[in-house]
């Protein structure tokens, strides 16, 4: 790990990752041992590793898998669900499964096609549905906090995109913890300081069986392009991604980012249909999309 100037054997590496995760959980006040955690699991290396780490650390962590109905000729969702269920069964863990098509009558690709969101890609609709459903289910099932497996590369790519666009509101809301409020569950990202490469190494060393195939719709996506761009930078300047993200967090924390505004000034409004918080008055994006697609075959 050149960014840390640290080399560990597999045995010590498998201890180091949970120790660091615990440190980040405490540093950012994500949750404590009395709280019930719902881990959003996709069958990928990050989310399954996160679940594994939290359980190893002794937290009360259950899983939530969203069946998105993505097939694309390779049975992508079916395989990711199989691996997630296998992971839970082998470790005797509680896994909740929510099927989007069974709940809303349409799969993610179908919702994307009918609603015409995302310019031919279902990624925008997928993100919207996942955020909405994870939040709804966390609240409905009485969990205190929702944990996702976002790693440093995910966070740096989002930060890069939002910086290129100077998306002020998104920048002010990005961080390891998104505090809960009326209609919104607290969201945390305990892996946000680990490189994607570090999480892959953890999953391999732990023998975690995860879905290796990329989502068929991710090929050529903006986030992967930004990750590759940042990896070129990282190769030339080891530690660049970590510095980019940590310095951003510090600027945000200290109030040096957009100094004439602060996060408290961002007003959120409850959606009149589902009650979740949304940035503009009226129906939230999710309910508008469902409304729009309701009468389509």
């Amino acid at each position: 790990m050149r960014q840390h100037k640290l080399a560990l054997c597999a045995e010590h590496y498998l201890d180091w990752i949970p120790e660091q995760t615990e440190r980040f959980i405490k540093k950012y006040a994500m949750f404590d041992r009395d709280e019930k955690i719902l881990v959003a699991v996709s069958g990928g290396k990050d989310s399954l590793s996160l679940w594994d780490i939290l359980v190893r650390l002794g937290y009360r962590a259950d899983g939530l898998y969203l069946a998105l109905g993505i097939d694309a000729g390779i049975g992508y969702s079916r395989e990711s669900r199989r691996l997630t269920e296998k992971f839970a069964v082998e470790r005797n863990l509680t896994l909740h499964v929510a099927d989007i098509e069974a709940t809303y009558g349409k799969s993610i690709p179908a919702l994307a096609e009918i609603s015409r969101r995302g310019q031919g890609r279902p990624c925008s609709v997928c993100g919207l549905v996942k955020r909405h459903e994870m939040n709804r289910i966390a609240r409905d099932l009485g969990y205190d906090v929702l944990a996702t497996g976002h790693n440093l590369d995910d966070e740096a790519a989002v930060l890069f995109a939002n910086t290129l666009a100077w998306s002020e509101e998104y920048l002010l809301r990005q961080g390891p913890v998104l505090l809960g409020s009326d209609g919104l569950a607290r969201k945390v990202k305990p892996l946000c300081r680990f490189y994607e490469r570090e999480m892959t190494a953890y999953a391999i060393a732990r023998g975690i069986e995860y879905i290796y195939e990329e989502c068929p719709f991710a090929d050529g996506s903006q986030s992967i392009f930004y990750k590759e761009t940042l990896n070129r930078l990282e190769t030339a300047r080891p530690g660049a991604k970590l510095t980019f993200y940590l310095n951003f967090l510090e600027a945000r924390r200290s109030g040096n980012l957009f100094i004439d505004r602060n996060t408290a000034q961002i007003q959120l409004h409850p959606c009149p249909n589902c009650g979740q918080a949304t940035s503009a008055p009226g129906l939230c994006s999710f309910c508008r999309m469902i409304e729009k697609t309701k009468n389509s075959p």
Binding site: A10, G44, T200, I204, E214, K227, N231, R232, T235
Partner: protein
């Protein structure tokens, strides 16, 4: 005297005796984007490739 690097369905042949880092540069794969596994064990960038080695490169990037 070659070693093989395998990334998804592509096989690259490089000269044995060079480091993994040099081999990755030669085949234009970013070291940050893969984990190298030889005989079931992860290896580091400074590992020297031996004749007959078959090194699996596990892609680490995911997202969409």
């Amino acid at each position: 005297m070659i070693a093989k690097l395998i990334l998804r369905d592509k096989v690259y042949e490089v000269k044995a005796g060079m480091s993994l880092l040099s081999a990755l540069r030669k085949i234009d794969v970013l070291p940050e984007s893969v984990i190298a596994v030889r005989d079931g064990e992860m290896i580091t960038d400074d590992e020297i490739l031996r004749p007959g080695d078959e090194v699996k490169l596990v892609a680490v990037i995911s997202g969409g």
